[in-house]
């Protein structure tokens, strides 16, 4: 039996690893997006005294490796009596970590947001939160989509770190298969192919969103 045939028989393990990675990625990145939006809103200046600690928090996160944050949640939190299993630690760490990166991307774009639009909205009597949700956020998201797309790929790659805190995902599947049958080369080629394919699909989607965005005139506001 050739190595590839062995792999084909073990396809269920790959598939469940792949689904696990995609579930983690999907949950984490959705939460990260929400965290990014909330952080941006809090930075908007409703509470000026909140802005400084938030900035410190965001910049601090961006100076850490992702894995050390996962360690903090997985190994560190029990010291406070909070016990998360590996899966939740992983998803939580991914969400917070990439939420901070997304917040920073948003903040950079917010700095160049045309103030005239905000004045116009205020003149029309928009409340702060309405203005944020309906005016500022959609434009900033559309404007930063290439950077967000990059961040998606980083987040996808960071899911592989979770094998180190024993989460069963795609890389873990390759690792255990290569251990069982001693066919590491083939197992990892397949897994790298998975990551590659997902990255390419995401890139295409981001590009398509770009087309849609420019049709809706988001690019020349």
């Amino acid at each position: 039996m050739s190595n590839w045939q062995i792999l084909w028989q073990a396809r269920d393990q790959f598939w469940s690893g792949f689904l696990s990675t995609m579930t983690i990625f999907g949950c984490a990145i959705s939460a990260a997006f929400v965290i990014g939006c909330v952080l941006l809103y809090l930075l908007e200046g409703s509470r000026p005294r909140l802005a400084v600690p938030l900035r410190v928090f965001i910049d601090g996160m961006r100076m850490l490796p992702f894995l050390i944050l996962a360690y903090l949640l997985y190994y560190g939190l029990p010291s406070f009596g909070i016990r998360l299993d590996a899966w939740w630690s992983g998803v939580g760490a991914l969400a917070v970590y990439h939420g901070c990166y997304i917040a920073e991307i948003f903040r950079g774009s917010r700095l160049t947001f045309p103030p005239g639009q905000i004045e116009a909205a205020q003149a029309h009597g928009f409340t702060r939160s309405k203005m944020f949700l309906r005016l500022i956020l959609p434009q900033i998201v559309m404007q930063t989509r290439p950077l967000l797309g990059n961040q998606l790929i980083y987040a996808l790659k960071d899911t592989a770190f979770l094998v180190i805190i024993t989460v069963q995902e795609l890389t873990a599947a390759a690792n255990s298969l290569s251990g069982t049958y001693f066919i590491p080369t083939e197992a990892f080629i397949v897994v790298i192919g998975f990551y590659w394919a997902v990255s390419i699909v995401m890139e295409v989607i981001v590009k398509q969103c770009g087309r849609f965005g420019s049709r809706r005139g988001f690019d020349n506001v």
């Binding site: 601090g60 100076m63 850490l64 490796p65 992702f66 894995l67 050390i68 360690y71 903090l72 190994y75 560190g76 029990p78 010291s79 790929i153 996808l156 790659k157 960071d158 899911t159 592989a160 770190f161 094998v163 180190i164 795609l170 890389t171 390759a174 690792n175 290569s178 001693f182 066919i183 590491p184 080369t185 990892f188 080629i189 897994v191 790298i192 990551y195 590659w196 997902v198 990255s199 390419i200």
Partner: protein
């Protein structure tokens, strides 16, 4: 945390630093060479490099490190852990650096190159004396940014058993049963390293802006 814990942490930090340092040095150089090869647009080689860059950018470091470390023996190669770790980090960072160098090359002012040719410099002298020094200055902020990313990705080498600054916290807490302190100290050390790089990046940006006449 006792003295031996501190000692272990610093040793972990040193491992992270030297393995990253070697990978950065090799990755920056290899990136430049790849960028130059790509500029030559040799048919098949060019497509292969595009494929490599695309793959390297999509492959998680953990996966790459495991791949290299586990599959090398099946080709009859017994790789030392450190070598496998350095290889993984280098293969990854080279792809990003190649793109940084390539864009510096493509954005280089045609007029300045013509001024060099007009004084009788050969293309090679023009590259070495006029283009490369300026490409270093303009690429440096991007290269340093990529160095930060490499350090942030470096805990991936823990997966093949290298005791780096992240992994060493496990070792320490296995003895002390107090995982939080070493992890927090490791966080501070990472922040110091990456904070230093962020600062260097700012300085490099200022220098690069000064180059713009």
């Amino acid at each position: 945390m006792n003295a031996s814990a501190w000692h272990m942490l610093l040793e972990g930090a040193w491992t992270t630093l030297w393995i990253s340092g070697v990978s950065i040095a090799m990755g920056v150089t290899a990136g430049l060479i790849l960028a130059l090869i790509r500029l030559a647009r040799v048919p098949v080689i060019d497509q292969l490099l595009v494929l490599y860059i695309s793959l390297a950018r999509a492959t998680p470091l953990v996966t790459l490190a495991l791949f290299i470390f586990l599959s090398a023996p099946t080709f009859g190669l017994q790789l030392d852990r450190n070598v496998a770790g350095i290889l993984a980090l280098t293969l990854n960072t080279t792809a990003f650096n190649a793109e940084i160098w390539r864009s510096a090359f493509r954005n280089f002012s045609r007029e300045q190159r013509e001024a060099a040719m007009a004084t009788g410099m050969t293309p090679w002298i023009t590259f070495r004396r006029i283009m490369l020094p300026q490409m270093v200055i303009t690429s440096l902020p991007g290269l340093i940014n990529e160095m930060s990313f490499l350090i942030k990705g470096s805990p991936a080498i823990a997966v093949i058993g290298i005791v780096d600054l992240t992994r060493v916290t496990n070792r320490i807490s296995a003895v002390t049963y107090e995982p939080l302190p070493p992890i927090l100290v490791a966080c501070v050390l990472y922040m110091a390293i990456i904070g230093g790089l962020v600062w260097a990046q700012r300085v490099a940006e200022r220098r690069a802006n000064r180059l713009a006449v």
